[in-house]
Subunit: 113 residues, 2 copies
């Protein structure tokens, strides 16, 4: 009914937006796990990675390219960054609107959680 | 010159393949960080996320959809999984042929490394 990220994409909830176009919005995570922690989401509601289908391939790919662009804008692309997408309980997904985490500004460790 | 994952995609190096089509190959990580740890790569050489361009959007998205399919094939999709892509030093990238990690079979922790 009332998806937090849908509301955010519509501007009904404030967020610290770092990039947006007609399909995608990227904003700072309110609980950052790195000096730069951005969430990149499609404006269209897709609950989880499991719910994406072949017609969504380009859109999903654009999330990664948007993250790349944000990393370049933030001047962290060359040092590097980690992109993470969580699906369901074992993945640690907490908001059920598909989103890509961009973490940068520090060396990320292994394993990834 | 001799990219490990290009050689692997050509079958010149053995890997434990779990999925492949004309564009993508998915195989088990030799140093798994979870009960299921799969790497999903494009057959075509793209060194890092920074090197992907807008024409690669669909291909990058297909990596995610291939990971989803593998998760479903392994019966871990409903429990959930984490997808990770590392770029350059801070991301922890060690093989410079773009690849998506699929980690499943245990709860993943936060932060993601």
């Amino acid at each position: 009914m009332s998806c937090l990220f849908c509301m955010l994409a519509k501007g009904e909830i404030h967020s610290d937006i770092v990039f947006e176009d007609d399909e995608i919005i990227a904003f700072r995570d309110i609980n950052p796990q790195a000096p730069h922690h951005i969430l990149v989401i499609p404006r269209r509601h897709i609950a989880t990675v499991n719910d994406a289908n072949s017609e969504d391939a380009a859109l999903i790919g654009k999330l990664t390219l948007a993250a790349q662009r944000v990393a370049k804008d933030l001047s962290v692309a060359e040092d590097g960054y980690r992109l993470v997408m969580n699906c369901n309980d074992h993945g640690g997904q907490t908001v059920f609107h598909l989103h890509l985490h961009l973490l940068a500004g520090r060396p990320m460790h292994w394993p990834p959680g």
